[in-house]
């Protein structure tokens, strides 16, 4: 029982990583029907930028803002820089390709991903980089016989905060309604006076920013980062997006959390080496019985 609960918390932690990255996929997919392969690399870029700020700016930042301030600064710098990169990628690589349809955009996205990944490699080098240790006091709390670290608490709280804010923006504000409308039917939305470019700007600011923040958190959690990690996280997050029902924002969040928990349960009860197989098998089973994901709407094609 106590293993189960502990794995549940570990699962929720990595699940919230997946969920935050998945949000970026889901927003872009919802509005543009594009699988944004570069999204995983936004996440990596955020992680590396956070790393640089923490390693090279720590002394300076900590002197001015204290340790917590330093970390916040790393997160904010990563988020802002990566959203700028996100917007630039959208302008340069995606926008010119939209008119040609979905598939060219997929290739363009793969191209952007290769470019970003290798740019990161050129800038930071091909080797693993390690986040500074002891950023967060190595404290843990005990509830009954369950251990939970301070870092985990911070990550969980921060992730849920971000997700709640995003959920609120998408589901409760006018602008969120505009995004959902654009995702539902782009042309009708345009007729209703929704500025599609604003919607794109928004999702390509927010998605990469969320990815970058996740990158910093992953760096702090695992401490080791590599320029190729975006692929793996991206793939998992994309899986989470589909699991939840693609284009569905709450679906992406739950998809991510469920995926993280499944992965951890698979790792502890089946085998760590086969955990991803377990995850993909579950995904396939879910899709066989619910072809549009767990929370996806059943779309009956109009004939």
């Amino acid at each position: 029982m106590h293993l189960l609960l502990e794995q549940l918390i570990n699962g929720l932690t990595i699940g919230s990583f997946y969920a935050l990255i998945a949000l970026g996929y889901s927003m872009v997919y919802g509005v543009l029907k594009l699988i944004n392969f570069a999204h995983g690399d936004f996440f990596t870029l955020g992680s590396y930028l956070g790393y640089t700020v923490l390693v090279f700016g720590t002394a300076l930042l900590t002197a001015h803002f204290g340790l917590w301030g330093g970390m916040m600064a790393a997160t904010v710098v990563a988020a802002i820089s990566v959203s700028i990169v996100g917007i630039v990628v959208e302008r340069l690589a995606y926008r010119p390709v939209y008119p040609a349809g979905r598939l060219p955009a997929v290739v363009s996205a793969l191209g952007a991903s290769i470019f970003l990944q290798n740019a990161i490699m050129v800038i930071w080098g091909p080797r693993y980089q390690a986040y500074p240790s002891q950023l967060i006091p190595n404290m843990h709390f005990q509830f009954g016989d369950i251990f939970i670290t301070l870092l985990q608490i911070i990550i969980l709280v921060f992730s849920f905060l971000l997700m709640s804010v995003l959920y609120y923006v998408i589901q409760r504000t006018t602008f969120g309604a505009a995004i959902r409308a654009a995702a539902h039917d782009r042309h009708t939305a345009a007729l209703m006076g929704i500025d599609f470019n604003k919607v794109i700007l928004f999702i390509f600011t927010l998605g990469p920013a969320l990815g970058a923040v996740t990158g910093v958190m992953v760096g702090m959690y695992y401490r080791q980062i590599s320029f190729t990690m975006g692929w793996n996280y991206g793939l998992k997050a994309f899986t989470a997006t589909i699991l939840g029902g693609i284009g569905n924002i709450p679906g992406a969040m739950f998809g991510g959390l469920i995926l993280g928990v499944l992965e951890m349960l698979g790792a502890s009860y089946i085998s760590a080496a086969w955990k991803d197989v377990f995850v993909f098998l579950i995904l396939i089973l879910v899709l066989i019985f619910r072809p549009t994901g767990l929370f996806g709407e059943k779309v009956a094609e109009k004939v």
């Binding site: 598939l103 060219p104 470019f115 740019a119 899986t239 994901g293």
Partner: protein, 332 residues
């Protein structure tokens, strides 16, 4: 063939230049290896492997329009079936050539049957999942068969007794390109058959295809099975050329490359696939002097190509002219 004089005329005048290109390409392929060193022959060998993989994915993606981003899994099945059966039981590589194709095809049939009804991106993620499951399974060395992350070593050359042993770069080059050539002939035949048309109809409009009498499920599965079979054959040749196989050769990245081959070349276009394969396999070689920057260039070029030629480098041409290919004409 019942054609009126008008269309026969246009087919005659236009079909001549159409045949210059393939002849020329064939001639270059024949002469090329005698002009260059083994290193460049090997590059052309890998071009051939990617061409075969591109052709195999083109059936699924180009002809039927199914997003398959796990094609490396089928390639892996072919390579590992060859590696395991050859190193353990000494079955000759040539015998394993069809066996690995059939094994990959059977695998595709089994895994695709339950998921073939999924649409677009849902099918896409499932194929990614299948590809990843294969790769992870290979790493985890089930039943001590696959040798884990290191893979399987000591795969034999393709040989027929002592009569014919394929063990030089030149011979491998001709082996792969012979297979590619035969596949192209077969695939052109298919394009001009009711099967090829059925595939295209499904790509264009699944419901209309079904209402026109096409068993959508059957033809989708057929495309997967055939595509996987060809990829399995590519795996066989690749394994014996390298003499070893390891899981990292069959990553998600490899599936993405195949996807790009088809789209860069032009969906459903056989010459397009060859151009796409040339791009993917030759580009990193040509830009070797740029060292670590070459992949930056590679990524940028992919984006640029989609901007300027979104339909691919050599989109499939339809209509009377391409329709009446030599295959068809020679029949009458």
């Amino acid at each position: 063939m019942p054609v009126n004089t008008n269309s026969t005329g246009s087919a005659r005048t236009l079909s001549v230049p159409r045949w210059i290109m393939p002849m020329l390409a064939g001639a270059i392929l024949l002469i090329y290896p005698f002009l260059v060193s083994d290193y460049y022959i090997d590059i052309a060998f890998y071009f051939g492997i990617y061409a075969l993989l591109g052709l195999s994915l083109n059936i699924v993606l180009g002809e039927v329009g199914l997003f398959d981003l796990g094609h490396a899994g089928f390639y892996a099945i072919g390579a590992y079936v060859t590696a395991i059966l050859n190193t353990r039981y000494g079955i000759p590589i040539f015998v394993l050539l069809p066996v690995s194709g059939l094994a990959a095809a059977l695998f595709a049939y089994i895994v695709c049957s339950p998921i073939i009804h999924l649409k677009g991106d849902y099918l896409c993620i499932v194929t990614i999942g299948v590809g990843e499951i294969v790769r992870i399974a290979l790493i985890n060395n089930p039943f001590d068969l696959t040798g884990g992350p290191n893979g399987v070593f000591g795969i034999d050359f393709p040989r027929i007794g002592e009569l014919l042993v394929i063990d030089s770069s030149l011979e491998y080059y001709f082996l792969i390109w012979a297979v590619v050539g035969l596949s192209i002939i077969g695939l052109i035949s298919l394009q001009n058959s009711r099967i090829g048309r059925a595939w295209n109809c499904i790509r264009e409009d699944g419901i209309a295809a079904s209402a026109s009498g096409i068993d959508v499920r059957y033809y989708k599965l057929l495309a997967f099975v055939l595509g996987a079979g060809l990829a399995g054959i590519a795996g066989n040749i690749y394994a014996s050329k390298l003499m070893c196989v390891s899981p990292e050769s069959f990553s998600f990245w490899e599936s993405c490359l195949m996807f790009c081959i088809v789209l860069i070349g032009g969906m459903g276009s056989i010459p397009g696939v060859l151009i796409g394969a040339a791009f993917i396999s030759l580009f990193p070689e040509i830009f070797r002097p740029f060292a670590m920057y070459r992949m930056l260039v590679f990524g940028s070029v992919m984006i640029l190509m989609m901007m300027f030629r979104p339909g691919g480098f050599w989109p499939r041409k339809r209509g009377g002219v391409s329709y009446r290919s030599l295959m068809e004409d020679s029949g009458d």
